[in-house]
Amino acid sequence: MDFGFIFSSAASELFSPTTAAYALAALGLAVHFGYSGLLNFGQAGFMAVGAYGFAISTLTFGVPFFVGLVIAVICSAIFAMLLGIPTLRLRADYLAIVTIAAAEIVRYIVTTNQLTAVTGSANGLAAFEGGFYAMNPFPAGSYMGMNNRDFFIRIVGWGLVIICCTLVWLLMRSPWGRVLKGIREDENAVRSLGKNVYAYKMQALIIGGVLGALAGMIFTLPRGAVQPANYGTELTFFLYTCLLLGGLGTVLGPVIGAMIFWVVLSLTQGILYGLIESGAVTWLNTVQAGQLRYILVGVALMLLMIFRPQGVFGNKKELAFA
């Protein structure tokens, strides 16, 4: 077994664009669930809205990159409002069911053959990233072992993560953030102080949703393709695992959580494949090894929630629930 290769590929996951996308989306969930107590199970839907909003506006309407970006952000804000209007007055589990249903509706709509001309149905869309890479300031060459495109997307992705983390951090220590945490702790107490709880929740839902949309874009750009199968309910559940790993009510928690998630997935894959190839493990094939990792994700999610709900960095006092 080549441990050097296994560890280097696990280390490369630390700063991969997919990890950045997961970190951003989990940060959005932290705004929803960690800070406001909103149980959003449809973050995959927000990511899909972002990715498809950008890809469709680029391909179908031929708009420049930044216009596509703005369209994607606006679409996700509208999506958040549509979800929030019926559910933000209801109990947490209603929001959970409606958001997961809405995310699936989005996925069914972009999968349907009726809209193949616009969404590419199950095959998805491709070749929309030209405008992004045309802005690449790095000339061709090798940067820390990567080509200039890979380097550029990493710089942009992690730059965005840093900017968003700073923004969320500033927001949460502002008076606005304190009201939000107050809503999480006791909605009625905040309402009795004369705050419009509904409006605050809606704003939090929109901010977290926009972070999800940005994550959707960072997720698709390096792949150069957006496919509906990537945006199933599992994606949301993986994001919750990242969030719980790092810590719910923290800014850096989701980022660290996403890094741990991908490094551990990569390590287990490398080690399992290595064991299978070397013949040490015969009761498993490589397909099953992939599934075994997701079994571990599910078990990890359960154990985290049961034994350490505040995550690695969280503070137990900051939990959205007793």
């Binding site: 149980l39 209007i85 019926p86 559910t87 007055r89 209801l90 109990r91 947490a92 589990d93 209603y94 959970a96 069911i97 409606v98 997961i100 249903a101 809405a102 699936e104 509706i105 069914y108 709509i109 999968t111 349907t112 053959n113 009726q114 193949t116 149905s121 199950a122 095959n123 309910t233 599992e234 559940f237 919750y240 695992t241 719980l244 397909v287 099953q288 599934q291 075994l292 997701y294 079994i295 994700v297 599910g298 078990v299 990890a300 999610l301 359960m302 154990l303 985290l304 929630m305 049961i306 709900p309 959205a320 629930f321 007793a322």
Partner: protein, 428 residues
């Protein structure tokens, strides 16, 4: 104690493992079935229902092309990489002499996947078969009956979910996996050579056992710890992920068929329905009626309703709340198992994610009827089932039929958040 759950889940599935692996390469006419999860398949039979062998069929989409030759029993299957629209062509020069495609049978024709990973294509042969052009009314009636059948099987699962929610407050996202388990167990027990009826009984028992083990090993300790409802919901998601992939680990990604899955439609008065759907309708209606009688007429049912209404008060008046909850879990597991078996015949086919495919429809039914109300779950599920089937009659594409049901659920929450039979104070 929580580890006990995983151990037992794994243990249950370990029993299943050798069975499903031994039979995975079931009659596969084309080797491509093992490499792709989606397949297009069918049976070629002539006028006299005799199988037609050695006929070449090709599927094309973009630059993908797959070919299959029909086997001795007439079956053919082409594995395809993605669900989408394919052009299917039957090579008429490979047909045996004297057999021709029936009139009005398009060849080549364009076919489209709906939500399942298996797409059946029927080619009719000979002169005897007239391709029926159904009129709108006929179609509506057929879909209505099919929808009722689908709604009742959804109701089996959602009554269990609703009972569990009512007595423990848990929104169980792992209920879809309980549905899958029922169908997978029937397939596995049947595959190791047990008779069909025994496989059915064992599968129902397995479902009940899974419910019992879940409650005893996981949910009861969590309730003892005083874990909140939201954390429990997230734990159930973790459990759903773990169990789904454990099932896939042993069962694989392919679609398998239960015995007697293929059946011709029969005419019952003005309605044409497949015998499987008819059986499914009868069985679920009878079982639900039994559940209703138990809930309304027996002491146990009264105790269950009391616990659902107010657990603390029920405990104070001498009801053993824990044993009621245990019975609810076992019943819920068995009902989900039965629902899963019927769902495997309705789709048709068994896959590792078949339960999570209808989980949201089950939720939609429960929410429509009112969270925590058993009869609400029944009514809500029937509405969802009929709605899903009827949307295709009124022109919605087949691959969007679940969207309508989910959309209706969101709209109902907007105007009547407590659902049809729910009470206001539960909404919160």
């Amino acid at each position: 104690m929580i580890g006990a759950v995983f151990a037992s889940v794994v243990a249950i599935l370990l029993v299943v493992a050798p069975a499903s692996q031994a039979t995975s390469p079931s009659p596969t006419p084309s080797p491509s079935i093992t490499t792709f999860q989606n397949n297009i398949s069918g049976f070629l039979r002539d006028d006299a229902r005799a199988p037609i062998a050695d006929v070449t069929i090709t599927a094309r989409s973009g630059d993908f092309e797959g070919t299959a030759t029909s086997a001795a029993n007439g079956s053919w299957s082409i594995g395809v990489p993605v669900q989408g629209t394919y052009e299917i062509e039957l090579d008429e020069s490979t047909l045996p002499e004297g057999i021709k495609l029936a009139e009005g049978q398009d060849n080549p024709r364009s076919v489209t996947f709906s939500q399942t990973s298996n797409l059946s294509v029927i080619f009719a042969f000979g002169e005897g078969i007239v391709v029926q052009q159904q009129d709108f009314g006929q179609n509506l009636l057929n879909r209505l009956v099919a929808g009722l059948s689908f709604g009742l099987l959804l109701a089996l699962a959602s009554v269990g979910l609703s009972l569990i929610f009512g007595t423990t407050g848990l929104t169980n996202f792992a209920h879809g996996e309980m549905v899958t388990l029922g169908a997978v167990l029937v397939f596995a027990f049947n595959a190791i050579g047990l008779p069909f009826w025994l496989a059915l009984i064992l599968s129902l028992l397995g479902g009940g056992l899974f419910g019992y083990v879940q409650d005893a090993g996981l949910w009861k300790p969590l309730r003892r710890r005083g874990t909140g409802l939201v954390p429990m919901m997230i734990v159930s998601i973790g459990l759903a992920l773990a169990v789904r992939y454990v099932i896939q680990f042993y069962f694989g990604g392919a679609t398998q068929q239960l015995p007697f899955a293929q059946s011709a439609e029969i005419q019952l008065g003005p309605v044409s329905i497949s015998p499987n759907n008819l059986w499914s309708l009868i069985i679920s209606a009878v079982v639900i009626a039994l559940i209703g009688i138990v809930l309304l007429k027996t002491r146990l049912g009264k105790a269950t309703r009391a616990v659902a209404d107010n657990p603390a008060l029920a405990a104070a008046s001498g009801i053993d709340v824990d044993s009621v909850i245990r019975i609810v879990w076992v019943t819920g597991g068995m009902l989900a198992s039965l629902g899963g078996i019927l769902w495997a015949y309705y789709r048709p086919g068994v896959t590792f994610d078949m339960g999570s495919q209808i989980l949201l429809l089950i939720f939609a039914g429960v929410t429509l009827g009112g969270l925590g109300t058993v009869f609400g779950a029944l009514i809500g599920s029937i509405i969802v089932g009929i709605f899903v089937e009827l949307t295709t009659v009124f022109g919605l594409a087949a691959d969007l039929k679940y969207v309508g049901a989910l959309f209706i659920m969101i709209v109902v929450l907007l105007f009547r958040p407590q659902g049809i039979l729910g009470r206001r104070e539960r909404v919160g």
